[in-house]
């Protein structure tokens, strides 16, 4: 019944853990950039004048938000390869993350855009700003500032969810752990180490997002109050 912990057995694998953690971070970075882009476009689409575009974007968001990520992974990864499209695993994993987080981002960004008072847009129109300029300066920038905490929280959750890409053998942190435990026969210790690494990554990511927010939102930096 007594179990002897032996973390020493994992020492030889420290490089693998490090590589896995770096892969997780790289995947996250790609997914944040592309997911944000898709989310913003989709949020704009849902506010567009075209009913077709509204429907299409709404359908995408609801479909993704109401199905498990692992099913999305299998659908995209095995589906694509069944029609002969064999993406590199890393690219496939990033693709599934982007598709997934894009929908959540769209919903958050849309909620932010809904808080922009119509008077703001009229004031910008009266000043002669063009529609794209209004979208950027008067709608998106304050909307993103307002939802920044929710948005970055979602990105941290996505980083954690990226562990599920281990199921298609993307060589990220969880897949590394699965390998290491099968070589070292130290499953419990391995997953404890990996849990700690994920915690560290989550803290790191939160700090990075905080710093980035201070950088790009001068108002928050100077006043410290939410917009």
């Amino acid at each position: 019944m007594r179990y002897q912990f032996d973390f020493g057995a994992l020492l030889p694998y420290w490089r693998d853990f490090l590589d896995g953690a770096l892969t997780t971070l790289t995947m996250t970075a790609f997914a944040v950039v592309f997911g944000l882009a898709i989310g913003i476009l989709c949020a704009i689409g849902r506010r567009s004048a075209s009913p077709l575009l509204q429907r299409l974007c709404g359908f995408y968001v609801e479909l993704i938000r109401n199905t498990p990520y692992i099913i999305q992974i299998f659908f995209i990864f095995f589906g694509l390869s069944s029609i002969g499209l064999r993406l590199p695993i890393f690219a496939a994993a990033v693709l599934t993350l982007v598709v997934n987080v894009g929908a959540y981002t769209a919903e958050i960004v849309r909620a932010g855009m809904d808080t922009i008072h119509p008077g703001q847009i009229e004031a910008a129109q009266a000043l002669g700003l063009s529609q794209p300029q209004i979208y950027w300066d008067v709608i998106l920038r304050p909307a993103l500032e307002r939802v920044y905490p929710a948005l970055t929280g979602q990105f941290v959750l996505m980083m954690l969810a990226s562990s599920i890409t281990s199921q298609i053998s993307a060589e990220e942190l969880t897949a590394v752990a699965n390998n290491v435990q099968s070589f070292s026969f130290r499953a419990f210790e391995t997953y404890i180490v990996v849990a700690v690494l994920y915690l560290a990554l989550a803290v790191l990511l939160k700090l990075a997002f905080y710093g980035f927010g201070q950088l790009i939102f001068p108002r928050r930096r100077r006043l410290g109050t939410p917009l």
Partner: protein, 242 residues
């Protein structure tokens, strides 16, 4: 001299409801015209048709020689000629006072940042707020925010300014500072179309007053007409206020 603003038989409907029922009036260059009338009489709508925040169903609107009702109108060119100040200030909360003011010059006219900053300093001096140039809107009082909104419009050097009840959201003790800025503008020769409930201001500053009632121009005349109303509707309006 050609009118700076002219409306001829303007009709405007929202769905089934006709809000402007054949409105006609003119504003000469340098003239200050006050529009008064009960809430819901169509004052804001008339103003918003002038800078085409609303499109009209029939009639003609001209501003500085440009047909506003022309579907092929160059909107940005129109809005370079006409500025608008709103009841609710509508300053951009995420931008500093300077950024609020320089946004349009930088984006629309491609003014270089240093030059735009100089313009901001200049217009802020005109509204008496040069010390607030780097503040954020929420750090200002309502009266100060409204003066910044006026400065923001001035920065685009409009030929005509529209004011829609710009003091209605302010505490009484803050309206004075805004009205003073507007009076200075008027004295400086700005063409102004002012929707207002400040009768004293209308009488003292406006060259002409338009009383709107149920979507029509009901009575019009010099500021002194407020002391001598001709129609029972204006009489009643002046007696009961809003």
């Amino acid at each position: 001299m050609a009118a700076a603003v002219s409306l001829r038989d303007v009709h405007k409907r929202f769905g089934e409801v006709e809000v402007l029922k054949g409105v006609s009036f003119e504003v000469a260059p340098g003239e200050v015209v006050a529009i008064i009338g009960r809430s819901g009489s169509g004052k804001s709508t008339a103003l918003r048709c002038v800078n085409r925040l609303e499109t009209i169903q029939s009639g003609e609107i001209e501003l500085c020689g440009r047909r506003v009702d022309d579907p092929a109108l160059d909107l940005r060119a129109l809005r370079r000629d006409v500025g608008m100040v709103f009841q609710s200030y509508n300053l951009f909360p995420h931008l500093t006072v300077a950024e609020n003011i320089t946004l349009a010059p930088r984006r629309v006219r491609r003014t270089p940042p240093a030059e735009a900053r100089r313009i901001a300093e200049e217009v802020l001096t005109r509204v008496g707020l040069s010390d607030k140039i780097d503040a954020y809107p929420e750090q200002l009082s309502g009266g100060q925010q409204q003066r910044v909104a006026i400065a923001r419009s001035l920065a685009m050097e409009p030929k005509v300014m529209l004011f829609d009840e710009v003091t209605s959201a302010l505490d009484p003790h803050l309206t004075g500072e805004v009205l003073k800025v507007m009076e200075t503008l008027a004295k400086g020769g700005m063409t102004m179309l002012v929707v207002t409930h400040e009768m004293a201001f209308a009488r003292r500053v406006a060259d002409r007053v338009i009383f709107m009632h149920t979507g029509k121009v009901w009575e019009t005349g010099p500021g002194s007409m407020l002391a001598d109303p001709q129609t029972p509707e204006l009489k009643e309006f002046l007696a009961n206020g809003l």
